[in-house]
């Protein structure tokens, strides 16, 4: 009894502390606040959500059954189905869901101030993202680890399944393009960054050959060598940067770098996985986990102040990084970190086949998403500890603030943020870069933020090394996502083509491999190319498009979950998934409506296309802009129709789901539930 009361008091204290920290960050105006308040608020919210909300969902909504054998136990084959220790599954699952998304999104959304993004990351994760991951993991576990697309087909119907499939394919294309753009912008005219990123390719190959032929299967040994080589490549990059003749080989404009990435992407999709993809993935996973832990430690040691205001004037839609008002665009810009539809593919793929017991679902599904949300919080911190003037100078495209440093500084000063040309030059010199103006995409500003945090915590003399370490860290797992995404896109395309021609569906048939890889690479390569030639930086168009697509996929996953809950007679609990679903539908539909119909040329695709057409016809564009205008106009139209397509797909699935639910409640004949029979566990 005493024990129980003590527990109650502790949880009450955590709730009070969390509420106090949250009100401090929400109500502080004018003076800078310490990051410790944000970390405290986050930790308390996560703890309470995990202890109470997630536990309640597990016990009452899903009714998790510890005595039920999981697919890993029933179908154990020692390879893909295998009961595995829950911490190991947690590690696999987290490594799979945590990509560059939670780092880039918050950095871009920081243009609204630190508060809106932080609140959305916290609330979105505990009520939306973590719930989506957990229920999807549960439902897939009860269906032998079936994929989201298969579950959509089984539970809602063919239309839902096809929509999920097409949605996944398109989001992959957009995602890879925008990530490619982030890497290109980080490497543009930076011999240090370019040579370091280039070095990761042969390093991965050496490790691949080592693991395959020299010492087969010695994964840790090989990875350790790889990590050492990667760190050396950061030093070597610095040496190349100072070398008069060598640096020329790595000093390039955006366009050649984009073509290099396109060629690389094709090669990575066609080459056997053991040579490039798998070893690169090992290295990126260690780098990712190591750097995230290091960043958390550094932030806690250093406890820096946030310099960005809580809310900026850009909530009115005039933001330099991307156009559009706070609602709905902060919710679109931060997808991963709050809620990410892509996670549903992982939660319904590899992870359920490893679960030893259903009771691990809360920790793995809900817990891993909370950790990812914390990564997003750290990215937000790294962006907002920078002086706002510096943040905007790095992230504002030349198309908005002007190509000239003096113009850019004047423009940023006119917004009320202090920054000088000398300050930016000194910063660039400290970071070992030629310029940090208009380095859009989020990676350079995140790297500057991380370098200053690392530098202050572990020694200031090595800022340039820390900066390029951060760039290498971001690039290596962006490229992993790019490789893996292209490959998955290729599989999906081969699967679809296999319906028309059996031979094309064979994953080892080389002509089909080359054809489908080329189609996928051409798809994202096109968007990457347009993004690079766009004077507004491309990220401002591609990132919202990616956000809409990712939230749409999340909405489809929540539709499947809601349908299953209603069909299983749990209507009274259906709000658990229906509430985040309703929110996602509201934000994606509003965002899509504005992207298509807004008169603001920085928001509406058609408005921007018409504006550019008029200027082109009137002959007021300078020659360099006039030559690319037709391509930009075509692309704006294409993006508008793509957005329209996304919303149409989403609404078709929702209507389909609502009809199924209505029929289920009326007792009419519907597709039966597809979960497997109960088998008692023997473990």
């Amino acid at each position: 009894m005493v024990h129980k009361n003590l527990k109650l008091i502790i949880w009450f204290a955590i709730a009070l502390l969390g509420a106090f920290a949250l009100s401090t960050i929400a109500l502080s105006r004018g003076e800078s606040i310490n990051v410790l308040w944000i970390i405290t608020a986050a930790a308390c919210i996560y703890a309470i959500a995990y202890r109470f909300y997630a536990a309640w969902i597990a016990a009452k909504v899903l009714v998790i059954d510890e005595t039920r054998a999981t697919p890993a136990e029933r179908l154990d084959n020692g390879r893909d189905y295998m009961p595995t220790n829950k911490w190991v599954v947690f590690g696999h699952h987290f490594a799979a869901i945590a990509g560059p998304g939670p780092l880039v999104g918050p950095t871009l959304a920081a243009q609204f101030g630190y508060l809106p993004g932080t609140l959305w990351i916290l609330i979105g994760a505990v009520l939306g993202g973590a719930v989506q991951d957990m229920v999807t993991l549960f439902f897939s576990t009860r269906r032998n680890g079936r994929s989201l697309g298969q579950m959509a087909r089984d539970e809602i119907g063919v239309i839902g399944g096809t929509a999920a499939l097409i949605g996944t394919f398109l989001i992959m294309i957009i995602l890879i393009a925008v990530l490619g753009l982030v890497v290109v912008n980080a490497m543009k005219h930076s011999p240090w960054a370019t040579s370091t990123v280039a070095a990761t390719i042969p390093i991965a190959m050496i490790i691949g050959i080592y693991m395959r032929y020299i010492r087969p299967g010695r994964v840790l040994e090989a990875s350790a060598i790889g990590v050492v080589l990667l760190l050396l490549s950061v030093f070597a990059g610095g040496w190349i940067d100072h070398h008069e003749t060598l640096r020329v080989f790595f000093d390039h404009d955006g366009l050649p770098l984009a073509f290099a990435i396109i060629v690389y992407g094709f090669a990575a999709a066609v080459l056997p996985v053991w040579l490039l993809l798998a070893p690169r993935d090992y290295l990126s996973t260690y780098m990712k986990l190591g750097t995230i832990i290091l960043l958390a430690v550094a932030i806690i040691i250093l406890r820096p102040d946030i310099h960005m205001p809580a809310i900026t004037q850009f909530t009115d839609g005039s933001g330099p990084i991307f156009g559009g008002k706070l609602f709905p665009f902060v919710f679109i810009t931060i997808a991963c970190g709050a809620i990410s539809g892509f996670h549903a593919l992982i939660a319904s793929g590899t992870t359920p086949k490893l679960l030893a017991n259903e009771r691990d679902i809360r920790m793995i599904g809900y817990g891993a998403m909370l950790l990812e949300s914390f990564v997003a919080i750290m990215a937000m911190i790294a962006a907002t500890v920078l002086e706002p003037g510096v943040f905007f100078a790095i992230n504002s495209p030349a198309g908005v603030v002007g190509k000239d440093a003096i113009d850019a500084v004047a423009k940023i000063n006119s917004w009320g943020y202090a920054v000088t040309v000398e300050q930016m030059n000194q910063l660039a010199k400290d970071m070992g870069e030629s310029s940090l103006f208009a380095r859009t995409g989020g990676a350079p500003s995140l790297a500057v933020g991380m370098a200053s945090i690392f530098g202050n915590a572990f020694g200031k003399g090595m800022l340039a090394l820390w900066y390029h370490f951060a760039i290498m860290f971001e690039a290596i797992f962006i490229l992993t996502t790019l490789d893996a995404g292209t490959r998955v896109g290729r599989f999906m395309l081969q699967d679809m083509l296999g319906n028309f021609n059996k031979k094309l569906g064979e994953t080892s048939y080389m002509p089909s491999v080359i054809l489908t890889s080329a189609i996928v690479v051409a798809g994202w390569g096109y968007f990457l190319y347009i993004g690079v030639i766009d004077p507004n930086g491309g990220v401002n168009i591609l990132w919202p498009l990616f956000g809409i697509a990712n939230q749409m996929l999340a909405a489809i996953a929540l539709c499947v979950a809601t349908a299953i809950l209603v069909k299983s007679g749990k209507l009274k609990y259906a709000w658990v998934t229906a509430l985040p679903l309703a929110w996602l539908v509201t934000i994606t539909t509003t965002a899509a409506y504005q992207k298509i119909f807004s008169d603001d040329i920085r928001v509406g695709f058609f408005a921007a296309a018409n504006d550019l057409s008029a200027k082109l016809a009137a002959g007021v564009l300078p020659a360099d802009k006039a030559s690319i205008a037709p391509q930009l106009i075509f692309n704006q139209h294409l993006d508008a129709y793509l957005t329209l397509f996304f919303v149409a797909v989403l609404w078709i699935v929702i209507i389909d789901m609502l009809i199924i639910c209505k029929h289920a409640l009326q007792g009419l004949r519907i597709l039966p539930l597809s979960d497997t029979e109960y088998v008692k566990t023997s473990m």
């Binding site: 020692g78 799979a96 990509g99 994964v219 840790l220 040994e221 996985v273 992982i346 590899t350 996502t481």
Partner: protein, 69 residues
């Protein structure tokens, strides 16, 4: 003394976890699995060599969506 033993256990467990997480011990796990389920059946096949197993294991890891945004 007791603490030292405890710490030793903790380190050993962590090391096992790291090996399992990275797939470093995948072959040993496979051998165990093979000995348990296959070796005693009539049509038992000899266990794969480390090299053969690693090829199959690595390829099976990259069949679906395993990396996210």
């Amino acid at each position: 003394m007791l603490n030292l033993t405890k710490m030793g256990h903790f380190l050993l467990h962590s090391w096992r976890g790291v090996r399992q997480l990275s797939g470093d011990d995948a072959y040993e796990q496979y051998l165990k699995y093979h000995a348990e389920f296959h070796a005693c059946t009539i049509d038992a096949m000899p266990a794969l060599s480390r090299k053969e197993f690693f090829k199959l294991w690595q390829d099976s890891q990259w069949q679906g969506v395993n990396r996210c945004c």
